[in-house]
């Protein structure tokens, strides 16, 4: 038999734990935690360790190699030169379209049409684009037929091919996120602004835009990370030896052409650090603006 004082103590520990939100239910977190540890934390830590144990040289030799070889370090600029403009353009296009779509009755059909490019995957989109935007494709034929150009416009196997592909595959995602943030702004706020004399541009400028800006920052981060890790379309639609030699191609070549997993890991870590740097910068800027609820009612 357990002495009374001991069982009382046991109970008080349980009470203390449940006071902090820990009880039997908390154990349900364990499987997910194991999955995260096994599939995310461990590979990341292993990759970091791998990058610090190069084939030759000290622990930072791989990083020294990367930043001393222009063929390698220039991939950072090339990737940013693709991913930043694409992400910004996607946002700039998504906001006005979402503003209009938000007022439409049949949003579901449009949403479905927009989700299709996401489900098709980048490879299929790239294959389609090679034909459509190619020298003999419909796009150029129409331009020639309309006498808008004298010869076919080169939109494949270069920077613009990858740019367009990222735009097509990235837009639906950006748009849907933007739409959800816009729909989250209480309709009465815009109505109130209108009764106070604000025209549609003023309503956007002073009410809607400041309220969706924090959401746009998140959308920017997510879209940017997607665009920064571009690989299939850079290979299929771009010039993978030239202007679209993005950082993931460098990592791929290190791993599967030179079989230097250690250098490949170092490149992957550099990728992660750059993405993290931009995301942290954007989110830090976000703390400077209003981030509360987008409703005017009593909370």
């Amino acid at each position: 038999m357990v002495p009374a004082s001991q069982s009382a103590e046991r109970r008080s520990i349980l009470a203390l734990l449940s006071g902090h939100g820990l009880d039997g239910l908390t154990l349900l977190v364990v499987p997910a935690l194991l999955l995260v540890l096994g599939l995310f934390i461990y590979p990341f830590a292993y990759g970091l360790w791998l990058s610090l144990t190069p084939k030759a040289g000290g622990i930072l030799a791989n990083y020294a190699t990367f930043f001393s070889d222009p063929f390698l370090y220039e991939t950072i600029a090339k990737t940013l030169w693709l991913s930043l403009p694409v992400t910004l353009l996607n946002l700039v296009m998504a906001v006005p379209i979402a503003l209009r779509v938000r007022l439409m009755r049949r949003q579901r059909l449009l949403t479905t049409i927009l989700v299709i490019p996401i489900t098709l995957g980048t490879v299929l989109v790239a294959e389609g684009m090679i034909t459509y935007f190619g020298p003999q494709g419909w796009f150029n034929r129409v331009l020639l037929w309309l006498h808008l150009t004298s010869g076919p416009v080169k939109l494949t196997y270069n920077y613009w091919g990858v740019f367009l592909s990222l735009l097509i595959t990235g837009f639906p995602f950006t748009f849907l996120l933007t739409l959800s943030y816009l729909s989250g702004v209480e309709a009465a706020l815009e109505q109130a602004a209108a009764t106070l004399g604000a025209g549609s541009w003023q309503r956007f400028r002073h009410v809607l835009f400041p309220l969706i800006l924090p959401g746009l920052a998140i959308t920017f981060c997510l879209s940017f990370v997607q665009a920064f890790s571009v690989f299939p379309s850079a290979v299929l639609l771009g010039a993978p030896a030239g202007p679209t030699r993005v950082i993931s191609i460098a990592a791929y070549q290190a791993a599967f052409e030179q079989f230097d997993y250690s250098l490949a890991s170092a490149i992957a870590i550099i990728m992660a650090v750059i993405q993290l740097g931009i995301v942290v910068a954007v989110l830090a800027a976000r703390t400077l603006i209003y981030r509360g609820p987008a409703g005017g009612g009593k909370g």
């Binding site: 409703g295 005017g296 909370g299």
Partner: protein, 356 residues
């Protein structure tokens, strides 16, 4: 005080109508409102009162009819062109702007100079008693304070018309009484013409110069609070004005404004005749609980179901012989299940022809 109400002579609603998907939410609403009036649109939910307000604000288009401000037709103007101030049910304050920015928003949209805005915001803040809160965000204010910001924001633009959509419904009972007095005070200070939507008859009676009772999208009665309270034109208006007891019978006597009804049990009741009554016609008498009391020779026979102690008096609930639920007041405790005879004050009861 340099804040004024916008000037006009008359606001006219002519046969306004609105349908939603083929269903009429509003039918032929006509109304003429003079400068400075406080009008309450009163009715149960779904009666069309908010629809009317939104049409006036320009947030909703009317399906038919027109609105005139003096000689100018305004129903096709966008809300930002009308310049009416509106107080929304949930206040709709801009959550990312300070109290001062919220209040000054309408002036900023009109391109008024910054120091002029600051001066008028200061005056308006003083008018609604919000001194010291100027730099807070709406989320940091209490419900009553948010309400004051919403009112200040609407009146600072000196609108010809202030529209209020159930502005007190989100407040607790005590605050509601306090803000009701505030709305009255601000109206009396500025004299701004106000249209106030509510489903609370007490709010309408205490605030309005005239009450417009709406039901099923139709205007049922327009009148001053005391007139509406004492002499409703229809049984449904009476029910809304607190005439909870409805007793049916046949018209057996008419004497000027007084009509007598013979009720179940053969006895006679009487009340003020409303509408055209003919002898032997079926009719109903409506009376408020506070105007019905137990009386040894009372004409209405009923059985007590339950009672409540209300401090000054007891309120009894009873079932009449013909099966109508009745409420009445009594100075003495009541016994459940006991038979009772009730009498109504003829001067405070109203008689309507029965509509089938």
């Amino acid at each position: 005080m340099s804040i004024h109400a916008g000037q006009f002579r008359e606001l006219r609603l002519e046969r306004l109508g609105r349908t939603f998907g083929g269903v009429a939410a509003l039918r032929d609403v006509s109304l003429s409102i003079a400068q400075g009036e406080f009008i309450a649109l009163l009715g149960p939910s779904g009666c069309g009162k908010s629809t009317t307000l939104n049409i006036l604000a320009g947030l909703l288009a009317a399906t038919s009819g027109s609105i005139f401000l003096d000689e100018r037709r305004i129903d096709s103007l966008r809300p930002e062109q009308r310049g009416f101030g509106m107080v929304f049910q949930n206040y709709a304050l801009f959550p990312h702007m300070s109290v001062a920015k919220n209040i000054g928003f309408g002036l900023a949209m009109r391109g008024i100079a910054r120091d002029e805005i600051a001066r008028r915001v200061g005056e308006t803040v003083a008018l609604v008693h919000l001194q010291g809160q100027e730099h807070k965000l709406p989320g940091q204010l209490s419900g009553g304070q948010q309400q004051r910001v919403a009112i200040a924001r609407a009146i600072i633009i000196e609108p010809p018309l202030v529209l209020m959509d159930e502005p007190l419904s989100n407040l607790d009972a005590k605050l509601r009484l306090e803000m009701r007095a505030e709305i009255k005070r601000i109206h009396q200070t500025l004299g701004a013409t106000t249209i106030y939507v509510t489903h609370d008859q007490e709010e309408a009676l205490s605030l309005a110069d005239r009450i417009v009772v709406l039901k099923d999208g139709v205007v049922r009665q327009v009148g001053a609070p005391d007139a509406l309270y004492a002499r409703p034109d229809h049984l449904d208006v009476a029910a809304f004005m607190g005439f909870r007891n409805v007793i049916s019978g046949t018209v057996s006597r008419q004497d000027g404004d007084l009509a007598g009804l013979t009720v179940a049990g053969g006895k006679q009741v009487s009340g003020q005749a409303r509408g055209r009554l003919a002898m032997s016609q079926k009719a109903v008498m409506a009376v408020r609980p506070e105007d019905m009391t137990p009386s040894p020779d009372g004409p209405i026979r009923a059985k007590i179901i339950s009672s409540e102690f209300r401090g000054r008096e007891f309120v009894g609930f009873a079932m009449s012989e013909e099966g109508a639920a009745l409420a009445f007041v009594s100075d003495h405790p009541l016994t459940n299940g006991a038979r009772i005879q009730l009498a109504a004050d003829p001067m405070r009861a109203v008689v309507f022809p029965e509509v089938s």
